[in-house]
């Protein structure tokens, strides 16, 4: 199940400058492998979101390094980081973060169009396929405000998968959803790991959700206090 290392933090620290510098992430080393479902848990303010931003190349470590596919990103400028995000990483946030004026399909198309490796027709096909995968085949032409919270989050998942990234990073993906929608979203995410061999990192304070993962990393005050494998009983994830 566990594949090659795909995302790695090496002694990564993130310190907010100021009169009193705030350490968000303190010297964390962490390796994520393909086919691995990792949950990052911890109380609020423990730095779990900050760690995810670092892993997701949305933020740059003050010191240390983030390696994508074994390659260092040290000293990369915004544009190079953006290019890596576009092709290698997919994001699902607590808030769906869809563009409100665009239809579900257009939202899913955005990363593909930005990357531009597929032809227009192929992009459309893939967007339809992804929406079908998340069960929103018939909602492709609806705008986010015409969709329910769970549906929006599923569109966001479809969008995160648009460029077939190796890693999906999710920050409280079920935080705003009811139990039924949460279960649906989680099943989908789980499916990505099991069927498509992707790496999934979920940041959450929901212990039930964290329990679904293969591995649980616990943060307190910006430091890893535990990193344990969870043995899943068959059928739990289903």
């Amino acid at each position: 199940m566990k594949g090659a290392p795909v995302l790695e933090a090496r002694h990564a620290s993130r310190i907010l400058p100021g009169e009193v510098p705030v350490t968000l992430v303190n010297d964390i080393s962490l390796t994520i492998h393909l086919g691995e479902f990792v949950s990052i848990v911890g109380p609020s303010g423990s730095g779990k979101s900050s760690l995810m931003y670092l892993l997701g190349l949305l933020d740059v470590p003050t010191s240390g390094d983030i390696l994508v596919d074994g390659a260092s990103t040290k000293g990369f400028n915004h544009d190079r980081l953006a290019a890596l995000r576009l092709s290698h990483l997919g994001f699902v946030f607590q808030f769906h973060f869809l563009l409100p004026e665009f239809t579900a399909r257009d939202n899913v198309l955005l990363p593909m169009r930005a990357l531009g490796t597929l032809s227009d027709a192929e992009q459309k096909d893939r967007a339809n396929e992804l929406l079908a995968q998340v069960g929103l085949k018939d909602h492709a032409h609806k705008r986010p405000d015409q969709l329910s919270g769970g549906q929006r989050q599923r569109v966001a998942i479809a969008r995160a998968l648009a460029n077939d990234p190796q890693v999906i990073l999710a920050d409280e993906p079920t935080g705003n959803l009811d139990t039924a929608s949460s279960a649906q979203v989680l099943t989908m995410l789980r499916h990505l790991v099991d069927e498509h061999g992707k790496a999934l990192v979920i940041v959450t304070h929901d212990m039930a959700l964290a329990a679904q993962a293969d591995r649980r990393v616990t943060l307190i005050d910006g430091q890893i206090v535990s990193d344990e494998a969870i043995v899943q009983e068959a059928g739990v994830a289903g």
Binding site: S49, Y53, G56, L58, D59, H78, D79, A82, A83, L84, R85, L86, S87, L89, F91, F93, Q94, F95, F97, L98, L99, P100, E101, F102, D106, L110, P111, R113, A114, L115, R159, D171, E172, G175
Partner: protein
């Protein structure tokens, strides 16, 4: 890039009301700028045209720019002299017809001879100092608009009586003269003639209409008590604007003072320059104010889209791409506004063109307007630039926002 265009179009379309306000803002600015420029330049051109038409473009006179050398100055070198009796020189241009023939050989325009005398016109016991100009009616038609300015009678009526005179209508009104009346014209030299009024002209410029009268060259020569006298050659250039250059050529060739209409109205030209500066400032101010409006609206739209910018950036859009989206939005609003503004400006001009207007100095009954493509181009260009800037500056700021700051704030 199609994606950028798509996003920009979607933004602009989904904020229809704001977009329309933005477009209207640009359009108003462009429209009024065009109108002001058209009005200012139109009225100036109208005035210049009247001025140019009422006078010969170049007038070659027997005056000199430098006082003639006196014999005493030739004889003595370093002597101071007082109460020198200056040699009286015979007035007039020497060999006027030879000069005219020579000028007509190369000059792009036509030449007509005339005699200028200062006189007093007297009628019913009232006097008025006037300039009596002796003309050749056949040639005069080619060098001035006098023939078309005739209110009563024609230039050829000068041949009707032995001493015929054509007066400005303002002068006639002042003295109560009507066609057929006989007036006494006394030249500054003392010669007096009785002349019959055969026509009235209206040049549209008060000072001209009140102080100029036309007679035949022969009559003017009698008034000046000098047969064969021609003291002014009137030249009408084919291109009025080239008069200044032509005048210096004529002066170099003939040795006589050649005054272009620009030189004769140097003060007015200076006033026009000031007017132009004022016009530029007014039009510039309108454009500036309109640009601020444009800037305000477009930057508001951009600011409202900060979250979208964060989303696009987190997905992996480059800052440059994000900036382009908003510059494009500014341009879209700008282009639509400029196009609408051109139509608006044109309609404003058309509307103003219908307004009747009375002025005491000239007799334009309609506002003079100039329809010039460069007005549209300048107003449009400035507005477009402002719109682009209005998209660019806030977008530059917004695009450099760290997505994390927005994402953290939202969740």
């Amino acid at each position: 890039m199609m994606l950028v265009l798509d996003i920009a179009l979607t933004h602009v379309r989904s904020r229809l009301r704001q977009t329309l306000v933005g477009i209207m803002g640009v359009a108003t600015g462009v429209g009024f700028s065009v109108m002001m420029a058209s009005l200012m330049e139109g009225s100036q051109n109208d005035f210049v045209k009247q001025l140019v038409d009422s006078l010969p473009h170049i007038s070659v006179t027997d005056d000199r720019r430098v006082p003639p050398q006196q014999p005493a100055e030739d004889q003595y070198d370093a002597v101071a002299y007082h109460s020198l009796s200056v040699e009286t020189q015979r007035r007039g241009i020497k060999n006027p017809f030879a000069i005219m023939a020579a000028l007509e050989g190369w000059l792009p325009g036509t030449v007509a001879p005339s005699v200028q005398t200062k006189s007093i016109i007297r009628y019913a016991g009232r006097d008025l100092a006037i300039a009596v100009i002796g003309i050749d009616p056949r040639r005069e038609k080619k060098v001035s608009q006098l023939a078309t300015q005739m209110k009563i009678g024609t230039l050829d009526d000068l041949y009707k009586a032995s001493n015929a005179i054509i007066l400005g209508d303002g002068m006639a009104a002042k003295l109560g003269i009507r066609i057929g009346n006989n007036v006494t014209v006394t030249a500054t030299g003392g010669q007096a003639i009785r002349a019959q009024v055969v026509g009235l002209f209206h040049a549209g410029i008060k000072s001209v209409d009140e102080s100029q009268a036309y007679v035949l060259v022969k009559t003017a020569q009698i008034l000046s008590a000098q047969t064969g006298l021609i003291n002014e050659l009137r030249i009408r250039a084919n291109d009025a604007m080239s008069a200044r250059e032509l005048a210096s050529l004529v002066e170099a060739q003939t040795g006589y003072r050649a005054t272009s209409w620009q030189e004769a109205h140097e003060d007015l030209m200076a006033a026009f320059q000031i007017r132009n500066v004022i016009m530029l400032m007014v039009v510039g101010a309108i454009l500036l104010v309109a640009s601020f409006g444009t800037y305000n609206i477009i930057s508001t739209i951009t600011h409202e889209k900060t979250r979208d910018i964060a989303i696009l950036k987190s997905l992996g859009f480059r800052e440059e791409t994000v900036r382009r989206i908003f510059v494009l939005e500014g341009m879209m609003i700008g282009i639509a506004g400029v196009l609408l503004g051109w139509v608006f400006g044109y309609l404003l001009c058309r509307g103003l063109g219908l307004v009747e207007f009375k002025s005491g100095f000239t007799d334009a009954t309609r506002l003079p307007l100039l329809y010039a493509p460069q007005h549209y181009a300048i107003a449009g260009g400035v507005a477009l630039f402002a719109s682009m800037l209005a998209g660019y500056l806030p977008a530059r700021k917004a695009a450099s926002v760290h997505p994390v700051e927005i994402i953290r704030g939202a969740s």
